[in-house]
């Protein structure tokens, strides 16, 4: 009987914990959104921090990321093309390539890339600031951490993921054209038709929204996870671990929901 009660209690604690985390996250997001609407936020100092965040999240890794996107696109396009030829479905190969790569795989991989590189860094940084009372010190010096530390990171994350996913997608479209039609313009007409067929307004809006949500997930979740850290140094790794787990679940959930909305 005690065991059952203990199980129910632990389950209740977990649910409450999840709700707390979710509530904290959305409250933080609402706060950031409200701040974004305030004209006072849009000053030169905030803008500089945003530029810095975009530099560290997107520009610094651009060549590595594009090389990685090139290799994975080329590999997957080749696999899809040869499989389609084996089954006599070549006419569907270009559409399949675009749908798999540009709409699904590349945004997902971009989000994972940014999460592993910048998300973990943000989580650690915020956790250390929290442990070292730096945030309170900043607030004391009239430097609100929300405006100068967190909001730029969120904006940088969203902009970076959307841009990187877009660039990778364009690269994949180019690779797909070259793989299917080679170095000539003969295939431009049918390829354009395929692209026109796939990218209607709904798909484009959905793609951009999905990438923005990815960008938000890989920055918002690490920031809130860092802020939750108890003021003990040994809790920093635990905070990063929790934050990254949540990021992973969030990315998968966004992908699953987007797929469900698109195809069900």
């Amino acid at each position: 009987m005690n065991f059952l009660a203990a199980s129910i209690e632990s389950l209740g604690a977990k649910v409450v914990g999840w709700f707390t985390v979710g509530y904290g996250m959305f409250a933080f997001l609402a706060q950031a959104g409200l701040l974004l609407l305030e004209p006072a936020t849009w000053n030169r100092a905030t803008f500089d921090v945003v530029v810095k965040q975009i530099y560290f999240t997107a520009v610094q890794i651009l060549h590595v990321f594009l090389g990685y996107a090139l290799v994975i696109s080329w590999l997957i396009i080749t696999i899809i093309l040869s499989t389609a030829r084996d089954f006599g479905l070549t006419e569907f190969a270009s559409e399949m390539t675009i749908r798999v790569l540009v709409l699904e795989l590349l945004p997902f991989l971009t989000a994972l890339f940014v999460a592993l590189r910048s998300g973990s860094a943000i989580n650690t940084e915020v956790a250390l600031m929290q442990v070292n009372n730096e945030l309170d010190a900043l607030a004391h010096c009239k430097v609100p951490p929300m405006q100068f530390e967190f909001l730029p990171r969120l904006i940088g994350g969203v902009v970076s993921v959307v841009t990187l996913a877009g660039l990778a997608g364009l690269l994949a479209l180019l690779m797909g054209y070259l793989a299917i039609y080679g170095m000539n313009v003969a295939g431009f007409e049918p390829y354009t038709r395929t692209i026109a067929k796939i990218f209607d307004f709904r798909i484009m809006a959905g793609l951009i929204a999905k990438c923005a949500l990815f960008g938000l997930a890989v920055t918002l979740i690490p920031v809130t996870a860092g802020l939750e850290t108890p003021k003990k140094l040994f809790m920093v790794p635990v905070s990063v671990l929790r934050g990254m787990m949540r990021v992973f679940f969030a990315i998968v959930a966004i992908e699953v929901v987007s797929l469900a909305l698109k195809y069900i």
Binding site: G166, T192, D200
Partner: protein, 308 residues
């Protein structure tokens, strides 16, 4: 100059330009800068047609079904939309067929037999024909079933084909024997040997006949051969016949005299004795003639002329 800002600015500018180019390209691809061309298709049934069903010309998609609905008379009106650049494939003599393949989605096929025909005006209404393969399948299956039943009957155990194949096996088995195809046809080596034996005999017979013919030839047609002798005999016969003819003429004259004489019997009897002698002479000559002919010609008759 702030290097960090420059890099981010470059990145942002490049991304924005690329995004703008892609959006412009996408709008062009989707025909945003073109007039759309509308066409209504009248059909009896909307089975398989839904918004988004492609309209294809020569296998290439040129338009799509946008909406479909009923008209006042219960007929189906399918609204289709084409990009302005694709409208040139729609002619007044174009036919529109709804294709429902077994695998894959339905599509509306456009066939324009004469591309020089006048173009269809915007918002025209055309008839939609239907070619439904799935409706022909049951009939096809029935026919295939009948054919399979026939094949089954033909190939059943102890059926004709099996028996024929067994016979063919026997015949070909014999054909591999000593006497080859002949044995296969005749059934056993003994019979085949009889045939070859008789062939051998025939060959010998023909050789003998050859020799015989040569001899006969010699006998008949050579110098002093049978043929030449016969020719000479016939010339003699002709001579003899002439002789006999003259004798008979004499006899005729004698007979005329005799009539005359018998009229004047009383003129003397010594003339009758002379007459008798002459007739006897003629008959003897005739007898001799016949004997002569008989010697030359083998008539199976009595060599005698009866005297009345």
């Amino acid at each position: 100059m702030n290097k960090l800002h420059f890099k981010v600015g470059l990145f942002a500018a490049a991304s924005l330009v690329l995004a703008a180019v892609f959006i412009a390209y996408l709008l062009h691809a989707r025909g945003f800068f073109e007039k759309t061309f509308h066409l209504q298709l009248a059909a009896t049934s909307a089975d398989g047609v839904a918004p988004g069903v492609p309209v294809v010309f020569s296998g290439i998609e040129i338009g799509r079904v946008t909406t479909l609905g009923l008209n006042e008379n219960g007929g189906i009106i399918i609204h289709t939309e084409f990009l302005g650049r694709n409208a040139k494939w729609l002619k007044e003599n174009s036919t529109f067929t709804l294709d429902k393949p077994i695998v894959g989605g339905a599509k509306i096929r456009v066939d324009s037999p004469d591309l020089r025909a006048p173009a269809l005006p915007d918002n025209a209404t055309m008839l939609l024909l239907t070619s439904d393969i799935s409706k022909e399948i049951p009939a096809l299956v029935e026919r295939v079933k009948a054919i399979l039943a026939n094949v089954e009957y033909l190939t059943r155990k102890d059926g004709e084909i099996n028996a024929t194949l067994a016979s063919v096996k026997t015949v070909t088995g014999r054909m591999t024997g000593e006497y080859g195809v002949l044995e296969g046809v005749l059934g056993s080596p003994e019979k085949a040997r009889a045939v070859t034996d008789s062939l051998d005999k025939t060959r010998a017979l023909i050789t003998k006949l050859d020799a015989l013919t040569a001899k006969t030839d010699q006998w008949l047609f050579a110098q002093d051969g049978m043929a030449e002798q016969t020719k000479a005999s016939l010339a003699q016969v002709r001579l003899m016949l002439n002789d006999a003819q003259s004798s008979l003429k004499k006899a005729d004259a004698v007979m005329a005299n005799a009539v005359e004489i018998s009229a004047n019997v009383k003129d003397g009897t010594q003339d009758i004795a002379k007459l008798r002698a002459e007739i006897d002479d003629a008959v003897r000559k005739a007898n001799g003639l016949i004997n002569e002919i008989n010697k030359k010609w083998p008539f199976a008759r009595e060599p005698e002329v009866k005297l009345p």
